[in-house]
Symmetry: C2
Subunit: 513 residues, 2 copies
């Protein structure tokens, strides 16, 4: 064994430290809001100072300048970055909770809750442990910071998904840029920094369009509650498929036109960003021939039709039965929200029938597209799995045949097929075992159903946000004991990073040889 190759962990810490240091820049936005609204200024000045100090200190851990960064340092850096920003990003919750009079009742003043909420933010999960979401007990600056963590997390994810993970060949992620045929982003802008700038341009642009649109509805009187604050707040959490809202009732708080307007933005957020790039460059053929986008839109379409039918036809859902527009709207909104892993709610689907709720749980495992901010297993992996299963049936009859798995006119490398099967098996196994743990631990004094526990795990591991029942869209994850919250914290983290970059850190061969 070659024991000379060692992980340059200092380099990884140093890079993650840089990210933490740069967190001070977006923190200036809540600083400005705090100054404007006259609440929370000290909180955020303290937080800026902490972030800068921690980031600066970590950055000092220079790696070996003679060594290039390798895959191992990449894994550690990615895992550390999300962990460290979640720790440092939790500071505002803790400071406001302990240092201000109005924040004294915030459930986020407890460290485990603050960490949960921040990880939920930066991983764009959107599961919450806030007891009450209100401006009474939280400053407007703090609630906007909560929204902003998701927007920042989303910026990290587009780069991670399109530029970093494919380089590291994680769970078949090599597909995710190869997937865009012709001159892909990777080839147009060879360096990660340039790729990142191109993607961030798209991301910022789409966010701006959504905020502008939402505010126009407000200005013309079609969305009274959609103030500029709310428009920005929801603009911050749609493109990253985040799902946090400063409104306790999520998108139910707004008019039907707002709900309709948000649907295409959620769907766009779950689309491979490389396709926007092609679209922008008028390469429509590539977009139209993309295999994943068809599967993705097809899945949303079929599940929407199914839920619409269930809501429209099943007696008992007083407000929806026999009402076509609301049935269609809530079905389309909720299916898009769940499949893209955004997690907004246009109504409390806890009041739906078991069948419609199960369709949503099913949708949680579909996930968004590769190369998007969406989480979970993702459509392209399902397509490759289905094609490999067809291949398996074929080779059972023709054992001598060598038949590759194809995506469009592209042959998928067997290593990628194997990686996708391994990733999906790992995902399902972690889901099943974690559900077992959550249901066995239960909730104090309550009776947690298997369906609730299942949905809580699927919603955190898949970075979806809300589950059903106890953890339904108008409820929260507060009732869980601390051990369960820490488990779900871990699930959000590994789910967001496509599991493998974190799990490899736990193997002996990562640190040795």
């Amino acid at each position: 064994m070659n024991t000379m190759v060692r992980v340059d962990w200092r380099a990884s810490f140093s890079l993650a430290g840089s990210v933490v240091k740069w967190l001070t820049v977006p923190m200036l936005f809540p600083v400005a809001l705090a100054a404007y609204y006259g609440r929370g200024l000290v909180t955020f000045l303290v937080s800026v100072a902490v972030a800068f100090a921690v980031g600066w200190a970590l950055e000092r851990l220079h790696g070996d300048p003679a060594k290039a960064l390798g895959a191992r340092e990449g894994f550690l850096m990615v895992a550390l970055t999300w962990l460290l920003v979640s720790v440092v990003g939790a500071v505002p919750y803790l400071v406001e909770g302990w240092m201000t009079a109005y924040g004294a009742e915030s459930t986020l003043r407890f460290p485990v809750n603050a960490l949960f909420e921040t990880m939920s933010g930066f991983t764009t999960t959107g599961s919450t442990v806030m007891g009450t979401i209100s401006f009474e007990h939280h400053s407007r600056a703090l609630l906007m910071w909560r929204q902003e963590t998701q927007w920042l997390g989303g910026m990290g994810i587009v780069v991670l998904a399109i530029a970093i993970l494919p380089e590291l060949s994680v769970g078949g992620a090599q597909l995710m840029d190869a997937e865009a045929p012709g001159p892909g982003i990777e080839k147009l802008t060879p360096r990660i920094a340039e790729t990142a700038r191109a993607l961030w341009g798209l991301y910022v642009g789409l966010t701006a369009v959504e905020i502008a649109g939402l505010y126009v509805f407000h200005s013309v009187g079609m969305a009274p509650e959609m103030t500029l604050y709310n428009a920005v707040a929801h603009g911050f959490t749609t493109m990253p498929t985040g799902g946090f809202s400063p409104e306790a009732r999520s998108l139910e708080a707004f008019t039907a036109v707002v709900q309709w307007f948000v649907i295409p933005f959620m769907i766009a957020a779950g689309t491979n960003f490389a396709l926007f790039w092609h679209f922008w460059n008028r390469d429509f053929r590539t977009v139209l021939e993309d295999v994943e986008i068809r599967g993705y839109l097809g899945a949303i379409g079929i599940l929407t039709a199914l839920v619409t039918g269930l809501l429209y036809a099943t007696p008992g859902f007083a407000a929806l039965t026999g009402a076509l527009e609301p049935s269609l709207r809530h079905a389309a909104f909720q299916v898009a929200s769940i499949v893209t892993t955004t997690g907004y709610a246009s109504m409390d689907f806890n009041n739906w029938g078991n069948h419609a709720q199960y369709v949503l749980l099913f949708g949680m495992f579909v996930g968004g597209s590769a190369g998007s901010t969406g989480g979970s297993i993702k459509v392209v992996r399902w397509i490759v799995i289905l094609k490999s299963l067809r291949r398996e049936l074929f080779t059972t009859i023709h054992p001598e045949a060598v038949r590759p798995v194809r995506l469009g006119d592209q042959v998928i490398d067997e290593t990628a097929v194997r990686g996708i099967h391994a990733f999906t098996a790992l995902y399902i196994l972690i889901f099943a075992v974690a559900t077992l743990a959550v249901v066995v631990v239960g909730v104090p004094g309550g009776d947690l159903t298997a369906f609730e526990a299942t949905s809580a795990v699927a919603a955190t591991l898949g970075n979806v946000g809300p589950g059903v029942g106890l953890v339904g869209p108008m409820n929260n994850f507060l009732p869980f004991p601390r051990s369960t919250k820490l488990l779900l914290f871990f699930l959000m983290w590994i789910g967001r990073l496509e599991i493998i970059p974190v799990l490899v850190l736990l193997t002996r061969s990562y640190w040795q040889s």
Copy 2:
């Protein structure tokens, strides 16, 4: 494409017809019982005649004598055999239901129910659609026939699992004899017929020992309800991991000593039969070094400890809380029953907490050992998957490394690893989509929970038997609409045959080229 290779479907029908014809021999046992108890003689004489006529007619469809049977004919033959015996084996239910006065209220008089019950029998699933299980509305001969279908199905399965499927390389089944190192059964008795005889010898022997043991308890007064009829009836459904019982309350109807006595027989039934062969030949080293048996017993042990703790410690289960022996007994019994996919119940676990019920659902996916009569995914597949996931983490760090998956000191062929991943993915996908269908269709006038639907699908696809709630161990599958029953009928069938032999029949390449 070579279109000369065609499926010799006549050969497959002819072989399946032979099996149907030979069904008349075991039908003589209920004939004898009917004569003895004076009820059901005409029913079974008619049934014998039908089975003989159908079998004889099908047998006439001689295949091409110049052609050897190939893999394709094997798949068709296996699928057809289970389908045809389930159709012909349903005749007694229909005849007694329509032709006798006492049978007029049997729910099995309806064809879909009769087919469901017979498929549940021959696949050793044990899910029932009998409205009331009683000697009032059914002859003793008929209820014994129901038990016997499972015993016959089990005989078919040991041969299928050890001699036929490995030859057809289905879903990694090639492991299942390779798994037995040293001079395996396959090598000791080269021809399938001889292998079958050796396995059946073990199977009959273990059944006889159990029946004798049960009846001894009765004779010495330790099991008043375990009459000779009941001893035979339960002997018929333990070794095939079947789970049918002529008692409406299953094993709850018997004393604690009977419940303890049945546990090791269930565990034996879920053990690779090749290991018994080695044991019989005093090759203890092979048994002790077997990887699967350790995982299998380990899984049962861990889940039993978990359920014991939950039953013992959770307030609310009046009869069990704080009572160690009953907690341990019911936990061990129920975990063994579910993991081995037997499906007996020692009490109504519908009254357990959600957590303990979820542990059972989890256990349904573990399954028995390869080469046993147990169903579901099976322990050896999970071991190979876990090892391949470790390998995946290793090669993520060392992309250049070539590392085979090992089981003990044996290297697993990559085709087998791929087959196992494909099988498991197929299993989980079919499970998820079928659950979606079952929950969407629902039950008339009822509110089917997602957990109930999940358990119903897992219990039929995995050939376990009972689920939870509506389909709990003291309830039945009767409330489902006909479409759902037919879906579950299909699931029992494909689950029993390891899915692939049936699905390949639905591909174009099976019939062409």
